[in-house]
Symmetry: D2
Subunit: 340 residues, 4 copies
């Protein structure tokens, strides 16, 4: 059995991880830590799990966690777990970090984006970006997996075949993405009250969202050319799900079915990417509570603009599910375990 601990397990991602891992045939949960809820039962914070496990939230004791864990999921908000992650990795425990702390390539970029000096910049090079569709092999050999952001997962999976095959101008990318509210976590803020969200639709963080540099870093690697993406995230009055609409300009006229064939080729064999038939478009409902990413595409031929739409569950493929997929890769298990 893989001995698993989860740090910062009181939020949506943590709750989702516990829920999914309870059904994983090869996992035993050890420490579940929290800053604010030490001593509380799991079911007090995640009442859906009442009767499923008897753990209580503990405060983080790195030594104990090291002793009792083969892998640690770190679910802290940005920057909170930077140090503990470094300590755990140093102690030889594998870490899958669901925060944004180890996703960017350099301490400089990290500081620019997160307004904080990175606590372990050297580790940034060692961290592997945990998108199995791109880095499966590197993940399997790593000790620190930086689990991708939810928007980044949806956006990058939509863009890969275009950039990999050099079909588009890598500076023409626009991502207009829409997310359910759980993407913001359980923050107690006025703008996440039911009365503010229901029957409302709005953009936020336009041109300034932190997943933009994360996406550009990866897309630039895929394209082997500087890529640039204009990113507009939105809040949808629903709990789960991201629909990401990617616009890009083709370098030259290309038939839509040829592009579609490249998508099918790129993702054949991928357990969790479903390229829809031409004429069909993803809906968030069809991926909710699953680890799937559904992808559809269409072309505006007059402008040679290709429009690629992807859908994921932000808490599963966009967070906890992808983290479990990464764990399965790390421990050489079927990627489906715990994710059916």
């Amino acid at each position: 059995l893989i001995r698993v601990s989860i740090l910062g397990a009181t939020g949506y991602s943590g709750g989702e991880l516990i829920r999914l891992l309870l059904n994983h045939p090869a996992v035993k949960l050890h420490h579940l830590t929290s800053v604010s809820s030490v001593g509380k039962s799991i079911e007090e914070i995640h009442p859906l799990l009442r009767g499923r496990l008897s753990h209580r939230f503990e405060s983080l004791n790195v030594k104990k966690v090291v002793r009792n864990s083969d892998v640690v999921f770190s679910c802290f908000p940005p920057t909170v777990g930077m140090k503990s992650t470094a300590q755990l990795v140093k102690a030889g425990v594998k870490v899958i970090d669901l925060s944004a702390d180890y996703r960017l390539p350099t301490g400089e970029l990290f500081k620019k984006v997160y307004k904080t000096t990175h606590a372990a910049p050297a580790l940034l090079k060692q961290a592997v970006y945990g998108l199995p569709e791109l880095y499966r092999k590197e993940i399997s050999a790593s000790t620190l997996v930086a689990n991708p952001g939810c928007y980044a997962t949806a956006g990058i999976l939509a863009a890969i075949p275009l950039l990999h095959n050099h079909l588009i101008d890598p500076k023409s990318l626009i991502l207009d993405a829409k997310s359910g509210v759980s993407g913001a976590g359980k923050k107690l803020a006025h703008n996440f009250l039911f009365g503010e969200v229901e029957s409302n639709f709005q953009a936020y963080g336009v041109t300034s969202h932190r997943h933009q540099p994360e996406m550009e870093t990866i897309l630039t690697c895929v394209a082997r050319k500087p890529s640039q993406i204009t990113f507009t995230p939105h809040l949808v009055p629903m709990l789960r799900g991201i629909l990401a609409v990617l616009y890009a300009t083709l370098k030259k006229s290309t038939r839509t079915q040829d592009i579609h064939a490249l998508y099918q080729k790129m993702y054949q064999g991928e357990p969790f990417v479903r390229v829809l038939p031409l004429g069909q478009m993803p809906q968030t409902k069809n991926v909710n509570n699953t680890n799937y990413c559904d992808i559809g595409l269409v072309q505006d031929e007059r402008s040679k603009r290709i429009i690629v739409i992807s859908a994921i569950d932000n808490l599963v493929k966009g967070a906890a599910g992808q983290a479990i997929q990464n764990m399965n890769i790390l421990f050489n298990r079927s990627e489906w375990e715990g994710l059916q």
Copy 2:
């Protein structure tokens, strides 16, 4: 008092028109017609209006309507009211047509978009596109007002200052728009069931929505150059409201505050357009049940892409409210009457 009749008054737009006109100080409702609900009381179809009026739905008798109406609102689905509109106009009654029948400039384009030969193509030239912010003077002198589509209203109002001032490449336009479900009317179709819409988000009609040629026609007039727009509509799990996000590429570097100033200048004096301060973005909740269009903007300076976001209530500024605004213009009344 202005004598008003409404044709096809059983749908969302019709119900909204009745509701708003009951509070209009200078209006008397005469005939309310329906195809499917003849003889039923208004409150049976619009139970919100119980006790507010004693009318019943009648079948359409053009002569009677002509005799008893100064203005007729036509709320039929596309193509259903083409002929009756022509008859009414010919008989000298002013018509405000909320359907799409008289929005396009030529019979050829109409046929291409709506797959039907137009019943009165000559009238297309006579019809005025009922967007007061562009055509107030023409509306005031017209007999046939083609009330704009909901997406088109949001998209065009977002784009006008950019095109009017020649700031952007008129072929670089992308409109990624999101609408509440009432935009589809009360169609009894599987994909509008609660179980399909709630907690779901999806695009539809990507690159093929009928408001695209409508928008391009008007935008080309504004720009005095061929304009082209890639248009992606979406369905939001809420009843009312459109948020439209417009992307366009600036011809040359322009400071965001200068662009913002042009928006303020263009719309100062407009009763129903609110240009938000820089740094603020519209939300559909803030315009719901009003005739306002809220507009905000931001620039992605690396790509010289300007992002303009507009919000309207699709049933008010996007349909019934704008129709009443047009009626007020036609009858030389304050545009605010019935729209407070």
Copy 3:
């Protein structure tokens, strides 16, 4: 013009009051006070009202309010405005108190329910319970109107004809009521986050809600016998609306149509109560954004249980709308003004 000030105008009730009073033909808004948002513009707190008024929130200065107001609406949370209300009444200004401070008959009961000593217990006797359907005449002559609670409005209007006509055992009452989330105001609490409310349904405060003694006080007056009500409130995943289902046991067999006739008789002439035809039942959607209370009823004849269902908009007939109806009564105006 009636000079109006609103105390504690940042919440849902306050916002709704401002919105409705802007359309009242005989009202001029003077002071809008707040504790937490002094100096902010109205539109910063109620963005729906952007461009509609130029007031800013002031801190409460009782003297100034007295000088410039004919009537004051007090929208504070329970107990916060007890003293200012007393000061205003003493200074001769009419007060319509939307809080619960002056709804109970004695200081003893108030203390028991609200766990605080009342600041002006003598005034409790002077206050009139602002339910026009019961106390129209008393309201018109009063200086202090205690605007009823939202649940209480729905529950009492459902029960009056049964108790007034001595049809039921006044101790057999059960009220199972369901409310949209705005009933809780804009409280920043974990259980009002979108993620906790959406797709969820729950009871709360079962047998211990503060509207229970309020209802029992009034129902006892109506029945002229001690009345008792078991009260279960619930939270519905929607913003506005209350549906209240009242169960009571008939003293003797009575035909449902006879009971229905008594409801029609009791409420004929009431501008805002609509007794539905037998066979129809209220829905919250049909009263939202209106001051109506819709009432329907049915009998379970085997058990001689009568089931009466009422629906109101908790922010209108359950708060701001009823307050305006009371103001109209106080100033001898049509009860419809501002409420169309």
Copy 4:
């Protein structure tokens, strides 16, 4: 492996069954039949299942189903599958019937409630009511399990300890129950459109819902005395979940904690009933997507009324999940299989 076929598998219950059974370690799906969608792939009707199975909907061929199935789930609407169920049982196949066809004890009652003569009234006596908490032993030995209605499941589980222990007057029962929209299936009817359901709350079928005689039949068995229940179902603007609030009058004063202890005793050992600690009340969110029934209770001591609240997912414990629990009992497997 248990060979399973599902009849009428296009609706919500059928889709849920397929989804859950795909994760059942001992099940192999054979025939999935449909009336309206013969030949279509499963994913066309249940797009959530895309890529999970390659079956197509077949028309019902009883002989083939008999040959290839150890157990058949029948998910037809009421009365549609009466005959095929009888044929299958006669042919020796075990049937778990999710429709209402075999839940009532006699053909007379069936005719009264469903307005149709029963096709196989003799089988009604043979059928076992599939509520494991009451009839586990009988289920394990049966060939025809009548899977309980969703409301009935929630209502009966709330009432059993009261009636079994003779604590209450069995004629004093009132069930005020609230359900998500999936309870109505995927019916294409005006009142299930998104625009009619969202932000709306209403009662329906008050005193005339078909689950009332179903509940009274079972409750009378439990009480060993004629039981009677006043039943008010409601539609909640959400997809899944039932909250059922049961009111009953205690025969004599009984301490709430003693009643609570009887609930704990009755349900200890039950895998899917969670009796909440006193002071806590169920929420539908905490049981959604699970087979749990959560139960809480409180007393209104003045009236000796006990209020018991239960929550289930209507599609799981109220339909497909309970059906799988019954299958597990029939085949002597852990009741948890497929339901984690």
